[in-house]
Symmetry: C2
Subunit: 198 residues, 2 copies
DNA sequence: GTCTATACATTGATAGAC
DNA sequence: GTCTATCAATGTATAGAC
């Protein structure tokens, strides 16, 4: 009957998941990660971007890793929502391509991949959500294009790889070969708009 | 006749470019960037990896940005050397594919892209060398495959994008769709080995 | 829920002795 | 060329008042 209802390994209070202030910290973390990059994703810089005190961040998140984890989960949730919206669009394949070609989403995805590569504590969550999203895209492409899963998997790999590279290079002002690369995707996907490059 | 041979805006001494100790710092910076990522690319961690004193780093490089710039230049020089070697190989296209699929090279390229995205002072050098390398690959592929420059540019974009994504995902233990994506590249390149995934 | 105050490690960088 | 000593700024994180 000892310690009934008492937190055991928790010394500090924590804010609730539904809190709006908590969401502001996640918003700020997303903006910092997208605009300034992983090395700038620090408690002080996130708090500054949110217009809140640094110490308040630790009321809502036990550690910085917890904040990053919350950010990763929210990015994935929103991506899933946008994926469902794309499937419901008049031209789902074109909408899926647009989703993958969104510069802000691609920048975030790139930074999150970087986190997965070097931060073990967060890697599993990122890998899990990436695999889930990939599988959903493959299934959708197979259905929409009427091809088998293997063919769809190859097409998705190619389209995602190409769109990521084009977006990240475009952000650097490097556009050589983009038009030509897209021509190949278009030859495969058939129904995509021409002349697109970002 | 004033200030002949005297440094004007330089308050601190600097080591020579040819120095072996300088090279050790660049080696260490490369290892840290590849293995630990950009946030760990600090003067102290680089010096620790090199087995040298942190302050000695500032004898060879005015700032950390100078060290990163020197690293970027050296990575590019070595890549050019490996590119020339690939062209001289018995099967140049296969050798070029292997060069682009080298995990250690791809990891470095990914981190360097991240630097280019967020550090203006270094971006120009990275973009310049990337454009140069891309142009050389396109020219080589056009010649080796007997296709025009535009077709070659598209193939290079696709192959580079796909190899980068496959390498970076493999490092995370994510291999879904890799086999199928490579099957498409192989259909285009024809002479590449089958079943490769790294 | 938010604040002040604080502890303590690490950061980039410099000065000057040897 | 390498060393010791040092700096202000920033990093994560905590304690406790309000």
């Amino acid at each position: 009957m000892d310690n009934v209802g008492a937190p055991v390994a928790q010394t500090r209070r924590l804010g609730l998941e539904g809190s709006q202030t908590r969401a502001r910290f996640i918003d700020a973390a997303e903006a910092v990660l997208r605009d300034e990059g992983l090395p700038s994703l620090t408690a002080r810089q996130v708090a500054a971007k949110a217009g809140l005190k640094t110490q308040l961040l630790y009321y809502y998140f036990r550690t910085m890793d917890d904040l990053v984890l919350a950010l990763v989960r929210r990015v994935n949730e929103r991506r899933m929502e946008r994926f469902e919206e794309a499937l419901a669009a008049p031209e789902p394949l074109r909408a899926l391509w647009a989703l993958n070609s969104d510069p802000s989403g691609a920048a975030l995805a790139s930074e999150i991949t970087s986190i997965a590569t070097h931060r073990e504590a967060i890697r599993a969550e990122i890998v899990r959500s990436a695999a889930q999203f990939r599988a959903m895209q493959v299934e959708a492409v197979a259905r929409l294009m009427g091809v088998d899963t293997e063919k769809a998997a190859g097409l998705v790999m190619m389209a995602v790889a190409l769109s990521r590279m084009i977006v990240s290079e475009s952000a650097l002002g490097l556009t050589d070969g983009h038009k030509e690369g897209l021509a190949i995707v278009e030859a495969f996907l058939g129904c995509l708009p021409h002349g697109r490059d970002g």
